[in-house]
Symmetry: C2
Subunit: 337 residues, 2 copies
């Protein structure tokens, strides 16, 4: 069932929207001053993102985006990860590449020379730990098939794609080309459904993908029920069984369910105090794919996935702060006990 | 998969310890005056149960015991249920038979003429809704193979047995005889593991039963992990798959998981405010077996089971107070929607 890392240079190559997360701590009144709705995520223009950025306090920059967070998580576990995404040849683009490489992910795309700047997500954290976000997608959404490095994909055990790519026609073509390259090389294709609204926008295409092109599916409860237009989790579970080789369905505090042919695992959520759920799904996928590409059984993949998700929701931000290798060691020790 | 009620006179015949629940509301100080530990369940002698009973306030008597509660639940859904259990030919014994029959369960045992009185469970409810219990098992534990009515069992779609029976050697023989009679007649044998301490007392025998004699197993998380001596739910799930035709594993607020060969269902707990968890497992089994013997698929069996369990934990006492037939109607309507 597991992939064979010995014949590959990377465990996971991820493709997704490249976004620099720009995180600052702000007093409550600043949110109102900026005309933002507390706790919201708003898509904004280049001009607006620059205006808000100019008025933010001291900030921390992190190379973000869902698939990139997963690649970073794989690398933080000690796995070999690469990322394909489009940034501009500007300050934020260079920062993006540098930051991702600093956590051990190979940034496998050349910054673009075009006029559109690098995408950014401004994250304003108020004293109650609430995040108010302004996202400018920027050049990330201009990713096209020319970014798909068939050779790199062929040297990676798993190709990991985010559903958000489906929002842009050119990225959709890139998605298809990448999946074909992976399968031609005998590799696995993994997809995260990303978001229930994203699923609603592309439902038929996603059902088609899950049934045909995807080997490993990641989805949370609202995404998988949206995919099959059903009300309850069990009904969605019945639909997805047999549609792809492995489906890992996450359910927040209810844990996750992994189905793979006749195999079914019901995995508990890893106990933790929830501070900020950002990155939970991304790190679940990271833990799962790291374990999967290192020859672990599916129950262990699920346990490591849950532990990684628990780490990232126990603090602000989508990047783990604890040592994921010691988390791995304690999960494996508990499973052997 | 489902049994064929058209060829039977009963949907479920249950065998278990017959205990009259004697329920009273008491002030906090009464618990201390009686020398009881608030919230505890103590097994007591006939003399002690009489002493405590004499000092209790006005009480309500209900025919209880785990398997009897399940039989009553099946009847309250409109199913056809019978109960086999040993009571004495005394006031509480006659009350037991009368009360069970009043909710539509055929009480299929003749009260015993011996010296041991009918078993009772005194339930003292304090103003904080806590239950302090004194249980005298009485003649219920003297049930033996002579109580096993092969003809009645042959006319019932499902034989339902409680694990507590295994605590008495004579009841164990009765258990085996009943299971053999059910299988000879082509009926299904269902077992509830009853309690994790009960499982620890009889682990090897229960593993043997689950693997051989039991078609439908009910267990909660602590019981099924005790059965297989494992730490986590998923590990127990992997063990039980394939050991019996159907396993319905309950997980309190995490819902339940039903496995039956290749079929797996992950069912949510029915939302409710928990007042008193007594009877949750008994009513889960009632809803499940009622649906099962009425030709419903396993996901519907699980949904009806969860709804029945939610009803009984929303108030004090092990007997539903809402109309289970309207609960059934709303569950079926929701599943059709």
């Amino acid at each position: 069932m597991s992939a064979t890392p010995s014949t590959t240079d990377f465990d996971v190559v991820a493709i997704g929207n490249a976004l620099v997360d720009v995180i600052s701590h702000e007093p409550f009144e600043q949110i109102a001053t900026l005309g933002l709705d507390p706790g919201s995520m708003t898509l904004v223009s280049a001009a607006t993102v620059d205006q808000v950025y100019a008025r933010m306090g001291p900030a921390t920059e992190v190379s973000g985006g869902s698939a990139a967070n997963t690649a970073a998580g794989v690398a933080q576990f000690g796995g070999r990860a690469a990322f394909i995404g489009r940034v501009a040849d500007d300050t934020f683009g260079r920062l993006y590449a540098h930051d991702l490489q600093s956590v051990g992910v190979q940034f496998a795309s050349t910054p673009a020379k075009g006029a559109t700047p690098t995408g950014r997500c401004l994250v304003l954290v108020t004293p109650d730990a609430q995040r108010t976000m302004c996202t400018y997608l920027g050049t990330g959404t201009e990713l096209d098939a020319s970014y798909v490095d068939d050779d790199l994909i062929g040297r990676s055990a798993v190709l990991y794609l985010e559903g958000y790519l489906w929002d842009q026609p050119a990225a959709m073509v890139a998605f298809r080309k990448a999946a074909a390259a992976a399968h031609t090389a005998g590799r696995k294709v993994a997809l995260t459904l990303s978001d229930s609204f994203c699923v609603q926008r592309h439902r038929d295409a996603f059902v088609d993908l899950v049934t045909g092109a995807v080997d490993i599916l990641f989805a949370n409860e609202s995404e998988i029920t949206a995919l099959y237009e059903v009300d309850d989790f069990d009904a969605a579970l019945q639909h997805v069984r047999g549609h792809c080789e492995i489906a890992a369905l996450t359910r927040s505090e209810k844990g996750s369910v992994i189905v793979a042919g006749d195999e079914v695992h019901v995995i508990d959520a890893h106990p933790t105090a929830v501070v900020d759920t950002t990155g939970a799904g991304d790190l679940y996928a990271a833990g799962f794919l790291y374990a999967y590409t290192h020859g672990h059984d599916l129950a262990t993949c699920g346990s490591l996935a849950s532990a990684a998700a628990a780490e990232v929701i126990s603090h602000i931000g989508a990047r783990p702060v604890a040592d994921l290798r010691s988390i791995e060691a304690s999960v494996l020790a508990a499973r052997r006990a």
